[in-house]
Point group: C2
Chain length 379, copies 2
């Protein structure tokens, strides 16, 4: 199979990721739940994973790296744990439902009011749009680092500066970028950075988390067993325990930790360069095929490793099926959980077929995919 | 190492569990996030795991088996997603903080009022206590199936009958029992059964969930990407999607699924018989050692595979350390996230050392642990 659905999950993981999960599943106790060696080693290994994430993502303190089941949980924690009645929030048309639905829920409950910086037909936003929408009650900007539909990157540093200037909380969804392009939350002025472990970070599913700038207060989300302060009626206030009730997915996190070693070894810049080269090659190949429409702006110097396209009025689900059945190429069709972006691009009815690349993809795979698109376009 | 901390996590898993996780990590796409074969296979495999859980735990519909990161998340979803302002809730002194803290939080917010059926010095509850506490506003009983401190089992069928008679919602924490003793939510009259995957079910950490009786409405907890109905502003209403935003821990769930095959093969009754024999053997051995106090009621015909004890006024953390360092026996000391039960047993200051047994433990390990306790008691 030529797997080009890496924006959904990177199917191929570095071999040491699998070894680390196997090792954890055969030796590990429950972290912070005992004093015997297998429990203590589990606690140390988890802390080690926090340190690696803090380093990779530019989080000032390892104990402010919180583990969650996925990026969606991290975003729900960040959004529900910081916003208060009366707050106004600014987001963008680029967002995934993991940002939109928590915000819509608070809006529909009458808790917050909400505005969106619009995307144009190329999927770009006008950064001045953020400042135009700011009003006295504005409390936060919640925005993605990279569109999961077009690969468009948001200039976080620029948005971070707007947040600093206006004393706004800056919550970022780095689901599509962590591990695949450089991210440094401190330098970018990000207050809460939400990430998933199983995409660009090449770890197991069931991992993810949020990095919290020291000083940012987030109310507990799920509460329960903490292994410490058992007699308190409420969740302990210290990070990371404040946001981590119950047993962590330590087996998965050990895989993520090994993936972080791999990424440090190869270098995020090198990964970004490789993925950008594949993306450009694919874009150059498909964009000159008669009948193909590629979405997004490919004149931008930096972007995610995603090319989304349609062939004339070919239904996107049918095209993705044909790619799977006739060419064994895995892509993703349909709506991609990004409804506002589809509205901006004009692809609500047709959906679109997304090709997304990762470290393990090759030029040969890209060329085979270009060839397949060319053949389908000739039908 | 002699691992006797299975109530925290079963460290040894059936070999096919590890094989299944490795297989998932090398072949699986993202379930419900594409139409290519690796994504479709992931969806089918997840449904298969739901079917196995529904069968094992007596849940009438596989699509009412919801996956979560752990039992704590399941309990937070159940408690926060069903209770309404003004509700009165009855729980017990046996509960873990994963039940207590979500309830305390709602009580402190003024949302619910709360009463507890007390445990006596043996850790037993008087079932008539539930009926004595019922008032017109009582909406739910939330209770554990088995104490994580003493192994005391609650007669769920009896409590379920009280709930039916009084039209109360019955939420059960089966963290200590699922997989280790027979559980049948329908026969026991349970409305929502919360479980973890990494204890008695012998699956990976990062797995767990809740089984919901058809007709029971639970409000969404985290909301976000669902892979379906992408243009709706709110989370889709159908189970399991209603409660499962974001990418699931499919790698872990595949391990859990293999563990469920193992459990079906061996039989829960056989597992329960084996664990009960080890528990009884250990109890008989330690209870006759001079200076040892065992907590809980061992005259009950059925109980969890837990024996918790102290030696005179020996600090429980020091005793657990000594067991680990001098005998390489893993146990758990301290407060066990069960503050009300420690109050009932009178072990708040000293804590207690918990020995907990699982399928892979042997008579020889039990005998070595008895010998170790005897030696420590002679010091």
């Amino acid at each position: 199979m030529i797997y080009l659905d890496n924006a959904a999950t990177t199917r191929r993981k570095p071999p040491q990721v699998i070894d680390a999960v196997v090792n954890a599943m055969t030796t590990m106790g429950n972290a912070a739940r005992g004093a015997h060696s297998s429990s203590l080693e589990a606690s140390r290994a988890l802390y080690d994973a926090r340190c690696k994430l803090a380093k990779l993502l530019g989080c000032p303190q390892p104990d402010h790296v919180i583990f969650t089941a996925n990026s969606t949980e991290a975003l729900n924690i960040a959004i529900n744990g910081t916003l208060n009645p009366g707050d106004h929030v600014i987001s963008t048309d680029l967002e995934h439902n993991s940002v939109l639905r928590p915000l819509y829920r608070l809006e529909e409950a009458g808790t917050i009011s909400l505005d969106f910086v619009p995307a144009d037909r190329l999927g770009n936003i006008d950064y001045a749009g953020f400042e135009r929408l700011i009003r006295p009650e504005t409390r936060a900007i919640v925005c993605t680092h990279g569109s999961n539909l077009t690969g468009t990157l948001v200039d976080l540093k620029r948005v971070g500066e707007i947040c600093r200037r206006n004393s706004l909380l800056f919550i970022v969804d780095a689901s599509q970028t962590a591990g695949a392009v450089p991210v440094h939350m401190e330098e970018m002025g990000v207050d809460i950075l939400c990430f998933t472990g199983h995409k660009g970070l090449m770890g197991p599913q069931g991992t993810g988390g949020l990095c919290v700038r020291p000083g940012v207060e987030i109310r507990p989300w799920k509460v329960g067993g903490s292994g410490v302060h058992s007699y308190d009626r409420s969740q302990p206030q210290d990070y990371p325990t404040r946001l981590e009730a119950g047993t962590l997915n330590s087996h998965g996190i050990m895989g993520l930790s090994a993936a972080l070693d791999f990424i440090q070894e190869v270098g995020v810049e090198e990964i970004a360069r490789h993925e950008a080269a594949l993306t450009r090659r694919f874009y150059d190949g498909v964009s000159r095929i008669d009948g193909v429409t590629v979405y997004g702006d490919f004149s931008q110097p930096e972007r995610g490793a995603i090319v989304t396209l349609n062939i004339r009025d070919y239904d996107s689900a049918e095209m993705s099926d044909a790619l799977s059945q006739a060419y064994d190429i895995a892509t993703r069709p349909g709506a991609h959980c990004a409804p506002r972006m589809h509205q901006a691009l004009g692809t609500v009815d047709q959906g679109a077929v997304r090709f997304s690349f990762a470290w393990y993809n090759t030029q040969e795979e890209v060329d085979a995919a270009i060839q397949a698109v060319a053949e389908l376009a000739q039908r």
